[in-house]
Structure formats: C-alpha cells, structure tokens
Amino acid sequence: MPLFRPQGLHGDDIDFENTWSIIASAFKEIHTKNASRLSYEELYRHAYRIVLKKKGEELYNRVHQFEQDWLGHEVRGSILSLFSPNLLADAQSLGSTTANERRVAGERFLKGLKQAWGDHQVCMSMLADVLMYMDRVYCQDNRRPSIYNAAMVLFQKEILQSATSDVAGRVVLGLLNHVILDQIQMERDGDVIDKHLIKSCVYMLGDLYEDELESDDQRLYTTSFEREYLETSRGFYRGEAELLLRDSDAGAYCKQARRRIYEEEERCKSTLLEVTMPKIQKVVEDELIKNRIREVVDMESGVRFMIDNDRLTELNLVYDLNSRVDDKKDEVTRAVQKRIVAMGADVNNAALAASQAPAAAAEAGDKAKGPAQDKGLNQQTVAAIKWVEDVLELKDKFDRIWSESFQSDILLQSALTRSFADFINSSAFPRSSEYISLFIDENMKKGIKGKTEMEIDMVLDKAITLLRYIQDKDLFERYYKKHLCRRLLMNKSVSNEVEKQMISKMKIELGNNFTVKLEAMFKDMAISEELTAGFKTHVEGLGEKDPKRIELGINVLTSMTWPLETMGGAGDDDEGRRSKCNFPPSIDRIKRGFEKYYNQKHSGRQLTWLANMGSADVKAVFPKVQQRDGSTKERRHDLNVSTYGMVILLLFNELPAEENLTFEEIQAQTNIPQNDLIRNLQSLAVAPKTRILIKEPMSKDVKPTDRFSFNEGFTGKFVKIKVGVVSSGNKVESDRERRETEKKNDASREYQIEAAVVRIMKQRKELLHQQLVMETLSQLAGKFKPEVNMIKKRIENLIEREYLERIDTAEMDSYRYLA
C-alpha cells in the first residue's frame, strides 16, 4: 500500500528563516498601519507551522526581539522628541516657566505618550492574534507570559524606563508622574486641565506592571504614580490646613475641607483610577480633619460659636467631617457637651441668683419675717418657672441642632442626654426636682387656662422631658405630692382631667410604683366628694330645713398617703395640739354629726380633724355706722376665711360691740396653736384689705397683750372677700424647709436602701460587699442614686439588727443573710 504523506506538514519542508522574514515584514507593516494588505490566515498559518515544527521558542524570542527593537528605535525616538525645555525645566525648578507654558508642554508630552501607548496596544493585540497558536501551545506549555503581556513589559522597560535629558536623572515614567502631578496641582489651584488625556495615561499605568507576574499590587499605577500622588497630596493638604487655620474661620475651614474631599473623589473618577479613592480620601481626611479637628472645634469660631449663633449648616459640616474620621465623633461630642454643661450652669446660676438676691435683701432689711420672706418666696417661684423654661429652651435648641446638624445621631443623642442630666443633677444646684414640680404646679393652677388640648399636652410633655433627666426621682415625688396635695385640698387645679393626664404620663415614664400614692390621693378626693354629698342628703333627711344650718364639705384623707406634715408649714411639735382646737358649739355639733355618719359607714376608723387645713365661708353683716364717705349703709360680705379664722371670728359674734379680746384670751378660748393664731390674726387685723378686726395697738407684730375688737366700719369693694392666710401657696421652699425635706427624704431613702439590701440578700444568701453595693445601686437607679456611704451605714445597721452577718473566713468583705 502506498504511503500517504500529509501535505506540507511533514519533515523539514519548512524553512524557519524564510517564514520568519515573511512574518517580520508583515509585523513591520502592522506597526506602520498597513495591515489591511496582509492576510491574517497566511500569517496565522506561518506561525502555526513554526510552532508545529517545535520552533515556538525561537519564534517567541524573535518576536520579542523585534518588539524590543521597534520600541527602542522607532517609538523611543518619537517620545524623546517631545521633550521641550519647558517640560524639562519645570522638572528641575518651578517658577522658571509659567503654569500655562508648563501645561502646554505637559499636554504635548502626554499626548505623544498616549499615542505611542495606544499604537503599541493595537499592534500588539494584532500580533497576539496572529501568534495565537504560539500563545496557546508554546507559552502555556513552557509557562512563558503571553506575547502580548511580554510586549507590555517591553513598553514599560524600553519606553517608560528610558532615560530623559532631565538633569535630575528622571526616567520617562518619573517625568510622566511629575507632569500628571503638576497638572493636578494646576487643577487644585483652579486651572482647567485635560482630564481625559491624563486619564488615558493613567490607564496605561494601570495596565502596566513592574514585572511579568502581573500581580495587582505590582501595577505601575500603584507602585509608582499613586505613591507619589499620595505623598504630594499629603504635603499639599498639610500646608493648606495650616493656611486655612490661620486665615479662615472654622465654618470656612469645614467648607473647604468638604470641598476638597469631594474634589478628590471626583478626581479619582474623572482623572485617576477609582482604586485610589479610599487612599486619597484618607490622606485628605488625615491632613484636613483627623490632625486638625480638635483645633477646628476649639477655634474661636468653632463649635461653641456655631452653637451660640445657631450656625446649623456649619455644625453639620463639622459633624460630617468628624464622623468621617471618627465613628464616635469624640471632638464634636466633647465640644457640644462642654457647651451644654456651661449653658446649663448659666441657667442654674441665673435661677439661684434670682432666688437668692431678694431673699438676701429681705434678710438684710428685717429678721426674715412675714410678708418680706413671703415676697422672696414668690420671686423664687418665678425663678423656678423661668429655670424650667430656660432648660426647655436649651433642650429645644440642642434638639434642633441634633436633628438638623447631627443627622439625629444616636451617639450624640445619648451624649446630649448625659450632659443635660449632668447639669440638671449638678450638686451645685439641688433644686431641680422642686422646680420641675413647681412648674407643673404653676401650669395646673394658671398656666393651662385657655389652652387647647394640644397645647396642654405639650406643656405636660415638657415637664416629662425634664423629669427624665432627674436622678433623684424620690425627691421629685415628695415635692410633687406636696404640691398636688395643696392643689387638691384648696381646689386650685384648673382641670382634674389634666391632673389625671399628668399622672398617667408619669406612670408611663416612671412606672406604676411611682404613681400609686398619687393616684390614691385622687381616690380619696373622689370618695370625699361622695361622703360630702351623702352627708348632705343624710342631714336633709333628718328634719326641717334650718336656714341657719351650716354646710359641711369634707375631705377624708388617708394619713399615710398624704404629706400632711408639710401642709401646716409648722414643725412636728404642733402636731399634738392641732386636734385640740376648740370649735364653737354650732360647728362642733355638725362635726359630731359627721363623725357619727362616718362611723356608720366605716366603723373602727379614727377621724382626726385638721382645722389648720380647712376654710370656711362666713356671711358677715357690718352695721350702719358712719363711713369715711359719710354713708351709713348696712354692708353684707361673704368672707372666705381659714377654719381657724372662722373660729376666731365667731368669738366676736357673742361679744358686745364695744368689748374686745386679748390675744391670750383668744388663745385660751380657741386653743389654736400659737403660730397659726398669730398668722391668722395678722391676716384678719393687719393685712390692709381684710381688717375685719381692729388690733390695739396697731402694729405688724402680734404680741400676747394685744387687744382685738370687731371692726364695724369695715368696707370692701366686693361682696366676696377672701382673707388669705400667710404662706398658703406652693412656693419654693426656704432653705430651712429644704433641709427639712431632704432630711425626710434621706430617712425614706434609708428605709428603701435597707429594703433593697434585704431583698437582694434574701435571694443571694451570700454576697461580696462590692457586689451587694452594685446590685443595690442598680435596684434603686430608677428612684434615686444613693451615696455609697449611706449604703454602707445601712448594711452596718442591718448587721446590728441581725438581718445579716459578716463572713469572717472570707478573703474579701462579704455577708450572709440570716433568716
């Protein structure tokens, strides 16, 4: 059988040199852009056959050499021709040429390089396609870089690393970096540059590598250009920060910083590569923000200035910058907190000054007595209201800053809250609880009159807002109870509904425990109303209507619930005497009647009559006597007096007109405690508009020897006259009262601490001292913050009372619960 020989593929019928010369001349054509005359198939076939004949390596090397020669001779020459004095001059020293000259020369250079690079890429991709089989078979089998990649490296070596005539000894790459950086600097200075052109050259650097391994971090862009770019930028921004801090205010600084960040971001998109974005941003952020934010915040025109002048936009800028470099925004937080505490302290001090100034003046004038002190207290109440309004205003201000400038940042919110709590609970200002309660009191009595439901709700919410900051909730409760008690008993509240609303708001905010006693007070009031009505019906059922019958309105108060001791304004020593007040027979009769009625309903309960807290309406008839204006009309007045006042006035009913009673006689007959008696006589005989009695001798002070008689010549403009008794409203406490309140509060705290300690120990049986203290603190956190010393004392006390014992064997202080 004859042998078949495959055509043209066998043996040595391929002459390498011949074939190569065909290929080489074709490559020359490709490089001179004459490819359209060439047959791709033919070139491919030639290369294929060479590889098939195992001459792949030779082919590869020849192509490599060809490209090297081409780049080295043809291309390098054209690049070198682009060097002009202007281009090289700027590389040596700035200033010898104008920016514009440099820019033109630079662009010419960039354009030439871009052109050379573009041509190289196009030609090489054509060559690579022709040599595809070599790449696929030879390069892969022998682990050599593809001819395309090898040619890219060649471009790097033959063109970018070739020397320039630059005296600094820079190679083309160095010059390229410099030109790009120079152009970017021009743009930073406000010039317009050809971004597109630069981007082309940057892409080139992004496509070229230091070596043939082509790992990502070996890109020329990264290893050469970007590094230099970041370095120059760092220097530039460091200088700019310096300059701005010296010449601009904080707001302008922030604006510029933000603009720069934005610019760099844009630059990475339009001119450079986006991989640089995070790096350059870090540089800008470091130089313009991180290293400077503290200075900026503390500038005269810094955060404090912005807060004081409501520069919300600038604050937002500062916040934005700070949050770029610091998740916690420490600097802004620090500055804002400092400002809040300072402004809060101002508010506190203003309140203290307002409350103390008149008091001090009164003390200087007189030995702090009667109306003078009263007036002082009134001013203090005004100070309290103002304090609350001021704090709320401050809060509004910072809330606005928070939402508009700080993007409702959670961290800053809690920082703001902390700072508000700090100054509100400041040890230099112990009146917060009382002031807040007074604020509510004032609104309940007057403030909410004529307001819509919405507005009332806002007022209540304001109070709740402040209440949140209060640390010692127990103290607040004490004040609130006292104030509420007065409002309820004296019928001072504008609306019972609103009172209840307030309670339910507090319940939501502070929990059931806090409001349970307050609610009990409302319940007592409701029951009392029923009792009063029931008693009235009961009395009417007894017989014929007596025109002289005295009507009784009564409030039955559960003694534990109501802060009765705070009502009298007197010390504990009066307590015993209070019940001994002698009522006139007519009053005593009805009193006994009610006691009987009440006992039928609730047997076994003891009623204590608090005459110091009641009031009475008395119809008074003043006889026809000569008036100052000459008339002699008979005058009728409805006098609203305290219960004591009524008891005193009724004495004069049985007295002949011309007779009088001495202070001692009155005291003996009525058995009214001395303090109360003095105050009531003052309001009946001294106060100018309600002189129903005549005192001899006439003076402000009441002495035991003073004599009192009925003032027949009394005149009043109104039919109804209210005889006020000194110190009956809810006002800021005097210092003495405050000490009293705190003392009582401490006593109650001691009890609560003990209760907490026992609760904890009962559960844990044994516990380290430190842990016990911690747990006690956390259990009581909702109510108040006890001093550790107080806890220690209570523990000692409990050990004495044998609730606990020390564990002697333990290394650290620890206790055991004794059942």
Partner: protein
C-alpha cells in the same frame, strides 16, 4: 413537537443551508461557505482574530482556508452549525443528490488532492450533499464572486430539506456514534484531519468529538487499510505534546501487538519517527512520553 434544543439546531441548520444573514465567507479551494460571524467567532479565536483586526480578511469578509484540507474544513464548518459531522441519518435521502453531485465534487477534489487519497465523492455523505445542495445553483462559483452567492443562497434552499428530520434526536445528548456513522467506512484519516484542524483553530468541542469518533472507529476497523495512514496523520498534524489521538493509538498498539506485524503498518512506522519512538518506549516498558 420540537424540543427547544431541536428548535435551535434546526434554526442554525437552516441558517447555514440558506446562507441567510451571512456576513462572512469561508473559502476553501473552489468551495465557499456562507457563514455568520456571531456563530463562528464566538467558537474559535482564530476566526475572531480574523474579524476583529484590520487585516485583509475583515475588509473583504472572506477567509481563505485553501491551504487547509478541504474535507477537514467541510467537517469543521458542519460542526460549527450542527455540532456534528459525518452523520448518516440522512444518507438514505441524500443518496439521490450525492449521486447527482458526485461528478463536480470528484472533479474539484481531484484538482487539489493527491490521487491516492480516497475519493470523497464516492462517500455517501449527507453533509456534503447538503452543502452542495445549498450551492447547487452556482456550483462553480469562484471565491471572488461571493456576493452573488449570498444572494442566491436563500433561494437555493430545497423545499424538501434534508435538515428537517435530522434532529429527531437531541444533538446535545452524547453523540450516538454507533448509529450515526456508516460502519462500512472507517473514516480514520478523516477524523484525524478534523482533529488537527480543530486543534489549529482552537475549537475544543470539535476536537473532543473527532477524538471520540476516531477512537470508536478504530475499534471497529482495526484491520482497515486506512490504519497506517491514520497513524501518520495523527503523529504529523499536531504538536507532539498533544496526546489526544496519540494515546489512543499507543493503547491500540499495546492491546494488539500483532498490528506491528502488518507490512503497511511497518512502513508507516518507519516513516513516522514520532510514532516509532513511542512504540520503542512502549516496547521497552518505559513511559511513552519522556517528560
């Protein structure tokens, strides 16, 4: 009901047959194929290279493969459209046409091929038949007259297309060699040539298909007179690191020692140093390739 795959396959077949939308011509000697860049370039980097670079091919839209074996080119183009070549399921139908065509076909091949090569015109090849059916109106169209061929390509489609029932079986399923190839003819040399052209132009699917067919046919036609030529073809047309067909042959020699005793085989071995070397190593108990 056509399956989705069959639908695509028949669409491709009719595209090829009609030359509709064709934007590239492959010329091989006197034959030319109206093909589609989208389909061809996405399968072979060679063709892509020809089309994407500003060489002559991309300007004229003609790729001249006259230097390649016309049979191999034929099968390659067939594969690009049908995912197969040398299918006999239509042979019964195409016999009529192939007999009609036998004359011009044989004449053409005779101009380019050595007389010893078996005559393709004698083969009942449905694909050849199809291809020529498409070109029937201008059987002698020279390569430079392509535009004319494009115009007539669509109209030359026969109403009773043999392609229509060619895809009753799913072409994406493994190639059913047993039934698709004429068992009478070994086609060993053909497969080796197709294998080589697939390697040259980087069409890996075709390469493995040709290898499969080659291996299958070799098993059936060990005694074939084509065997020595196939050995030479396999060892001469691809680079020696390409083990595709070489391994098959070496394994065959290993399993059938008596093959070397054949005279014609001996001649082929003498003439094919690559094969001789590997057989030597095999006989010496060494690994065939010395890597």
């Amino acid at each position: 009901m056509e399956s989705p795959n069959a639908e695509l396959m028949s669409a491709l077949a009719s595209l090829f047959e009609s030359g509709k939308y064709s934007d590239l011509t492959i010329v091989c000697g006197a034959k030319s194929y109206s093909v589609h860049r989208a389909l061809i370039c996405s399968r072979s980097e060679f063709f892509e290279g020809a089309c994407r670079n500003p060489f002559r091919e991309s300007e004229t839209g003609v790729i001249d493969l006259t230097e390649d074996d016309p049979e191999a080119v034929e099968h390659m183009v067939s594969y690009l459209y049908h995912l197969d070549y040398l299918r006999n399921s239509i042979s019964r139908r195409s016999s009529r046409r192939s007999s009609q065509l036998s004359s011009p076909l044989s004449r053409r091949f005779s101009t380019q091929q050595k007389p010893k090569k078996f005559n393709l015109a004698m083969v009942e090849d449905p694909l050849l038949a199809t291809a020529y059916a498409a070109n029937m109106s201008t059987p002698m169209t020279p390569p430079d007259d392509q535009t004319n061929q494009f115009d007539t390509g669509g109209t030359s489609k026969l109403p009773d297309s043999p392609m229509a029932d060619q895809f009753m079986e799913d072409p994406f399923e493994s190639v059913n060699i047993e039934t698709s190839v004429d068992v009478e003819k070994p086609y060993l040399v053909t497969h080796a040539k197709v294998y080589a052209i697939a390697e040259k132009y980087g069409i890996s699917g075709l390469k493995s298909l040709a290898r499969k067919k080659f291996a299958h046919q070799l098993e059936l036609h060990l005694d074939s007179a084509e065997f020595p030529e196939a050995c030479q073809e396999a060892y001469e047309t691809t680079i020696d690191t390409d083990r595709g067909l070489r391994d098959i042959l070496i394994q065959t020699f290993r399993a059938h020692r008596d093959l070397t005793l054949r005279k014609d085989v001996e001649l082929a071995v003498r003439d094919t140093p690559g094969l001789a070397f590997e057989l030597f190593r095999m006989a010496s108990g060494l690994p065939v390739t010395s890597l």
